[in-house]
Structures are given as C-alpha cells and as structure tokens.
Symmetry: C2
Subunit: 182 residues, 2 copies
C-alpha cells in the first residue's frame, strides 16, 4: 500500500455560512479510484486550548454555554488564533479574557486535529504556568465561571458529564504525562 498522496483533480467551495466553509475535493488515489469528498476548512492559525496550572497544582477550568452540545460545558479556556496573531499571543489574550490571568511561561505540548477525515482544524494545546492576575474584556455574552480543579483529581474530571470534549481529554492526558504524573 502506497503512502503516496492522492492527486487533487478538482476542488471548490461547496457551501459557506457566516462561520463555516465547506470545501469539495475530487481526489484520485494511487490505485486509480476516484472519490468525491467534502471537508470543513478551519482558520489558518487554528485555535489554542490552554491548560492553566497554578503552583499548588490547581487547574483553572471554565464553565460556559456550549451551543454545540446545548448545555453548560466544563473545560479549558480556548479560542481562535486571530489573523496576524501567533499561538503565543492568542494564549496570552485568551488567558486574560477567560480566566483573568496572564501566564509567565507557556509551553506548546502538541497540536491535535478534531476529525482528520473531514476537518482541517488544528488545536494547539499549551500549558500555562506562572499565572498572575490580569484582566481583558472578552466577547462572551455572560461572565464565565472559573472552576478551580486540583490536577490530582483528574480521574474525577474525566468522569464529569459536563467535561466532554475529546481535545480536552487529550490536553489533560498530555499535561499529566508532561508532569510525570502518569
């Protein structure tokens, strides 16, 4: 089986709404088979998912309404990397907006995809430490609730029904490994 990439015979925008863009692709695999795919185009810079960790081992989670799941979701602060911004700048901005802290140290642990088969989206998972109070105004419709959670209680977080995002699990997994806790 060849790992040679399929040839793109054609591609075009298939649908577009205010925030979503669907791209159609006509591909030919190396065995000659042609397929017609659709994929969602994510933003150029991707998104950051921030794991804010205080010196005593407390994670700062947020609880906010998730329109996708239609309920309040418990998770890590995150947001899109704006055009012209780096993932580091986005991390500093989102930290101030969502958890009212600015990290002194930011480490990029990994970048993950959401659905490799049909989304180009990338999320950069970062560990933010050396947190100091600092506030910036975000664009949330209501103040976000900050939920402190000790990292040693990670199994309870994993089991919490409101903590549901695959990439949030991934972030917790990576941080536990990075800190030598697993």
């Amino acid at each position: 089986m060849s790992q040679k990439l399929p040839t793109i015979l054609a591609e075009k925008i298939a649908a577009k709404s205010r925030i979503f863009t669907v791209q159609y692709q006509h591909l030919q695999f190396t065995n000659g088979v042609e397929v017609h795919y659709e994929r969602l185009l994510g933003s150029q810079g991707g998104a950051v998912l921030i794991v804010p960790l205080l010196a005593d081992g407390t994670l700062l989670l947020i609880r906010e309404y998730g329109a996708g799941v239609g309920r309040y979701e418990l998770g890590f602060p995150k947001g899109k990397v704006d055009p012209g911004e780096t993932w580091l700048e986005a991390t500093l901005r989102e930290s101030k907006e969502e958890i009212a802290h600015r990290p002194q140290t930011v480490e990029l642990l990994d970048s993950v995809s959401l659905a490799a088969g049909y989304m180009t989206h990338q999320t950069h998972i970062v560990l933010a430490t050396g947190l100091e109070p600092a506030i910036a105004e975000g664009d949330e419709p209501e103040p976000l609730e900050i939920v402190p959670w000790h990292i040693d209680d990670w199994a309870k977080l994993l089991a919490h029904p409101d903590f549901s995002e695959g990439r949030a699990y991934a972030a917790l997994f990576l941080v536990l490994k990075h800190l030598g806790k697993i």
Copy 2:
C-alpha cells in the same frame, strides 16, 4: 451565575452541502443578552471509535487517508452509526470492515464531543476485545493498512506525528485508565 439554559428565540438551517448541515440559532441568555450562533449538526446516532485490543496487549490501529488533514493518518477504526443501527451494531460492522475482526466483548467507555461550542457531534469510545477474524466489505477507496501497536508503547504513539486526533488521544487515555495502566 445561573446554569439555566438560554432560550432559543429562533433557529433555521443556514447552509447545507452533501454531508454538512449548519444550523443558525438566535439565543437569549438569562441576563437578557441575545446572541446569534451557528453550529454543525451531527448525525443522530453519532459515531463509534473502536479500540481493538488483542489478548497480548496489541492494539490494531489503521492508517488511512484523512481528507481533513490531507495526509495519511494513524488512528483507531471508526465510523458513523448508520440510521437504525445501535452503537454496538456499528462497532461490529466497522470492526469487520476496517480491521477484519469481530469482537466478542464490547465495552462503552465514554462518549465525547468534538467541539462543544459549535458541533453537536458525539463519538462513542468503545473497547473491543475477544477479537476473531471476520471480514466484511467496506466503502474505502483503497485497502486500509492495519498497524499493530503494543499498548505499553502508548507514549510513542502519542508522540507519533500521524496520530493527531484529539478523540484518539481521549480513547487511548480512557483505555489506559480502564486497564489500570495509569
């Protein structure tokens, strides 16, 4: 801060392509603030992500072209739960189609969202054991490559650049915890 859900003032289909549907929602939060959101509607039954584990600790991974990321992705077998199917039936079907095995035991470990803010999609993460050879024809454009990977080498898998999906990390995390390996 109230956990009372926002009121849906209006909703309609904003865009539709062959496989994606975008829904517009006009919401009013309990503080009176109104917002206009868009979200992707996933399929009713969601998807299954299968962690196939042999008795000796070998995971059966697959390598297949991911149109979203535009390269060959290393990951777990998965697929949509078809209309009228249960997640268990989908697991049995996808196992035969993608790794040519049928599990005798299937355990649902958790269900995760992809992006709680803008996707309704749910992925059911299942552990499949008692695997016996069994083949069914899938709809892949080329034969899938099956990649055996010992579960004790999980840190190497996590670091592999072609293993990129947040929900695949989540599945590995859940299985390691379930087996008492972390």
